[in-house]
């Protein structure tokens, strides 16, 4: 969502200035977006400055601390961590966004269908969710990832494995929100205004659920990155790829801290904290944006 859909007054003077002004007031959104932009810029423009091949083992001398030549140092396997961060950040973001996006999408669709149409549709979706929820997802992910041909374990299949059982959370949350939302009077008014069922779902109810959808999305990205991380921990991921989780895990397996190679685990950990931290801040900011009452008091 951008500010242009919700200006205080119809603006004909362009959207940029009010947007920036708004970011000044909504600090978490502002800071979150700035961090995210820096990270995106890092991984996008980084591609021009590093050789992506250096993100793989045996490319550079191993175990070098940060220096002018290797700003983030190099690891045991002879990866340039700068290159590894550029490539790995991209891949981590990819898994997060793909898995988070698909999971949230399925969750929102099922949540809406379930709550809006009710009846047996609702009952069956809810029952499936309730049955699946208590089963430790990891078991299923591990078995599925384990039975795949290792060459087909790519960043993308990784995302799909992660998303497999990640949709129940958003489904239940969205469902309960729609249930309360659809009893609100503006839905009746929209019906009177001739708005179709789909219109009511997408134009009347959905925008009000954006904070929840965004929270679900952030939650899903968190779960995706986390799941990708522990699949890596169990040796089921595409281990060769410089996914942030993989780098951290390999560092841990080689006792990087103990051996004094602090830069090896610390830098990808910081990357991870920044990615998810910025998403969390954006999420907080979105709450403020979509809740007019907060906006008024700002």
């Amino acid at each position: 969502m951008t500010i242009s859909t919700a200006p205080h007054k119809p603006q004909k003077t362009g959207w940029l200035f009010p947007f920036l002004r708004y970011l000044g007031r909504n600090k978490s959104l502002g800071i979150g977006l700035v961090i995210l932009l820096i990270l995106v810029a890092f991984t996008l423009f980084g591609q021009f400055f590093v050789d992506p091949k250096d993100a793989y083992p045996l490319s550079v001398p191993s175990k070098r601390p940060p220096s002018w030549e290797y700003p983030f140092g190099t690891d045991f396997y002879g990866r340039d961590l700068m290159a590894a961060m550029v490539v790995g950040m991209w891949q981590t973001a990819f898994i997060g966004v793909v898995a988070g996006g698909i999971g949230t999408f399925i969750g929102v669709v099922l949540g809406f269908v379930s709550a809006y149409f009710g009846g047996w549709v609702d009952a069956s979706i809810r029952t499936v969710c309730q049955i699946l929820t208590p089963i430790p997802v990891m078991l299923i992910q591990v078995v599925v990832a384990g039975s795949l041909d290792k060459r087909s374990v790519t960043i993308f299949t990784m995302a799909l494995i992660v998303v497999m059982l990640a949709w129940m959370g958003p489904t239940l949350v969205i469902r309960s929100q729609v249930l309360t939302m659809k009893e609100r009077q503006f839905v009746s008014v929209a019906k009177l205004s001739g708005v179709s069922d789909m219109g009511i779902i997408f134009k009347e109810i959905l925008p009000n659920l954006l904070p929840f959808v965004a929270a679900a999305f952030v939650g899903q990205i968190f779960l995706a990155v986390f799941a990708a991380f522990y699949l890596a921990v169990l040796g089921l991921g595409p281990l060769r790829e410089p996914l942030l989780g993989n780098i951290i895990w390999l560092a841990q397996s080689q006792g990087a801290f103990f051996n004094g190679w602090w830069w090896w685990p610390i830098i990808p950990s910081l990357g991870m904290i920044l990615i998810l931290g910025s998403l969390a801040l954006i999420n907080m900011g979105l709450d403020e944006l979509s809740n007019p009452r907060i906006r008024r008091s700002e």
């Binding site: 045996l58 396997y77 060459r151 040796g235 060769r240 080689q254 103990f258 051996n259």
Partner: protein, 595 residues
């Protein structure tokens, strides 16, 4: 509002209470399975206690060596069980133990006589007699779950108790290695003697956990075992003291601290705990970790002191195995190309700080085997086959010859299929080497990736496409045992799983003939060296698998509380210092208190 709060609290309490109910039920069972001393253990002090770190994987309470597959000898249980003889690898000497002597009684190695040590006693005071030896051997013959079942059925015709202290073993075929392979304890192999009277009234010996009740001959008694640790106390009445085989050991208590997880996980924590003197020794480490340990705690040493490779050779040199009968690696040119793609010098640099650990043979270079490697015959073969060669151009010409072309990703391809070179291996022990091998293979155009997954071993057993990083646990003195893995006896049936060390599925009558000839003669027989050289030539010619690295045990010996660890400078009785090997009683009982 007050009412509301009250209800919430009440409901929460009920909820928590109910979720605890099943665990309470389980907690009662817990007391039953854990081994807890009846009376509190007397305090022997840290200075008399040996603390060893290990990821204990065998189930609590299983001390019976015949409990298959729960029993493991590596988690302190080897302190309870002894064999007829030990072998000191560094002195190349037999150390008679429960047996005073074991002699072949025929020139063609078809019979053998065991004389027991008359002083040997079980922990319950009962004497060790030929009845126990016969019981142990017949058990191996008749119980197909036991480890030496196949060996016994291949070689042993009968086991006869001549008198209380003498046992004769008669073989069906010449068995020159039986004494060493089966009857002698060394590294993690050899058969411990179990008490015949300990199994009285046990219907299913494989199902019997043993616990603290099973009489044993070793110097330590299990006194406590839970998920956190195992505790063994010295039994002062240990027969070997009276028999003059050992002094009264300084180590009064051994604690095996459970490091949790799977083996090789969180080794930096283990390292830190060693540095903190919490533990005296722990399982073996990767190169850099042990170097850092030595740097941080000067009291800690290793087999090679403070020099690389910080340890000694283990008997488990690793190779990239493959299914030589089916799939892409059935073509010898492809196997050879894999070997040519590996830069062993670079492996030495990255993994071993330059120490020469990368290898070209599937057996460990212990003195006897090094001697074999130094013979002119083998040196000529090395010159001829260049098994350690790294040459990407030759990879290219071999692969082209085999019908492969490079595809858009710069990978070899035939009929749209790349060469599936997924390396199946094990996290922890392989996480330093496999990623590097994968990269070397990729650079040579093989579609390599890492599989540390749950199915890695299954893939190996099934002969699935890809490479298998696995060792060879066999040869110690001569190359026979390792080379025998490639005898077509071990090739298995196509499509059926095979056991460990049989992954090559290699089958070649010419090779079998050589190995069969070797099996009936001892290694000091004049004909042996020639046969072994012939077999090794076929091994290299056919590139049955691709040897990569020798296995080094880099074990930290903390001298803060304990000295006299077996090292290169202080070989002692000559056994290796791994406390998880079957020779551990000799290591532990020889330690001297530092304070």
């Amino acid at each position: 509002m007050a009412n509301f709060n009250f209800k919430i609290v009440a409901a929460a309490i009920v909820g928590v209470a109910i979720s605890f109910t099943p665990s309470a039920a389980f907690a009662q069972t817990t007391a039953a399975v854990e081994i807890t001393p009846d009376t509190p253990l007397e305090d022997v002090g840290r200075e008399n206690t040996l603390v060893l770190g290990w990821s204990v994987s065998s189930p609590v309470g299983v001390t019976n060596p015949w409990a298959v597959p729960g029993y493991s000898s590596s988690e302190g249980n080897s302190l309870m069980w002894e064999g007829l003889m030990f072998y000191g690898i560094f002195t190349d000497q037999d150390i008679p133990w429960l047996a005073e002597s074991i002699e072949y009684t025929s020139d063609d190695y078809t019979s053998l006589r065991i004389k027991l040590n008359p002083m040997a006693k079980w922990s319950d005071g009962v004497q060790v007699t030929s009845k126990d030896v016969v019981f142990t051997m017949e058990g191996q013959m008749n119980n197909d779950l036991l480890r030496f079942n196949k060996t016994f059925n291949t070689f042993v015709d009968s086991v006869i108790a001549v008198d209380d202290l003498t046992v004769d073993v008669n073989f069906k075929v010449p068995a020159p290695r039986f004494k060493f392979d089966v009857l002698t304890l060394k590294f993690d192999t050899g058969m411990p003697i179990v008490p015949a009277h300990g199994f009285d009234g046990i219907d299913n010996v494989n199902e019997y956990a043993g616990g603290v009740d099973l009489p044993h001959t070793g110097p330590y008694d299990l006194v406590a075992w839970n998920q956190n640790q195992k505790i063994y106390n010295l039994r002062e009445s240990w027969w070997a003291i009276e028999a003059g085989l050992s002094e009264v050991p300084d180590v009064k208590r051994v604690v095996i601290a459970n490091l949790g997880g799977t083996i090789g996980q969180n080794m930096d924590t283990v390292a830190q705990r060693l540095v903190n003197n919490e533990m005296d020794s722990a399982l073996d480490m990767r190169q850099d970790l042990i170097a850092s340990i030595l740097e941080k705690n000067p009291n800690i040493t290793t087999h090679s002191g403070s020099e690389a490779p910080y340890g000694y050779l283990d008997w488990w040199p690793n190779a990239l195995w493959m299914n030589t009968e089916e799939g892409q690696f059935a073509d010898v040119r492809v196997r050879r190309a894999v070997s040519l793609a590996i830069n062993r010098e670079q492996l030495n640099d990255i993994l071993f700080d330059g120490a020469e650990i990368a290898t070209i043979v599937p057996f460990p270079l212990f003195p006897g085997l090094q001697k074999f490697m130094d013979t002119d015959g083998v040196q000529a073969l090395i010159a001829k086959y260049e098994p350690g060669k790294y040459d990407l151009d030759e990879v290219a010409s071999l692969m082209s010859e085999a019908g492969y072309t490079k595809n858009g990703d710069d990978l070899w391809e035939m009929d749209g299929e790349t060469v599936d070179s997924t390396i199946n291996g094990f996290e922890g022990i392989h996480s330093d080497s496999v990623p590097i091998l994968v990269e070397m293979l990729r650079r040579a155009g093989f579609d390599a990736s890492t599989n540390f997954g749950t199915d890695a071993f299954q893939n190996m057993a099934d002969g699935a496409p890809g490479l298998y990083m696995f060792g060879h646990g066999a040869s110690l003195k001569d190359p026979f045992a390792t080379l025998d893995f490639f005898n077509s006896r071990n090739a298995g049936t196509a499509g059926e799983p095979v056991g460990a060390y049989q992954f090559a599925r290699y089958s070649n009558p010419e090779y079998d003939e050589i190995l069969n000839a070797m099996s009936v003669i001892p290694s000091d027989d004049p004909a042996f060296e020639g046969l072994a050289t012939q077999a090794l030539e076929i091994y290299w010619r056919d590139q049955i698998n691709v040897p990569v690295i020798q296995w080094v045990h880099r074990i930290a010996y903390n001298q803060t509380y304990w000295t006299n660890w077996p090292t290169a400078e202080n070989v002692g009785v000559g056994v290796n210092g791994a406390f998880w090997h079957k020779t551990s009683p000799l290591v532990v009982t020889n330690l001297k208190a530092a304070q």
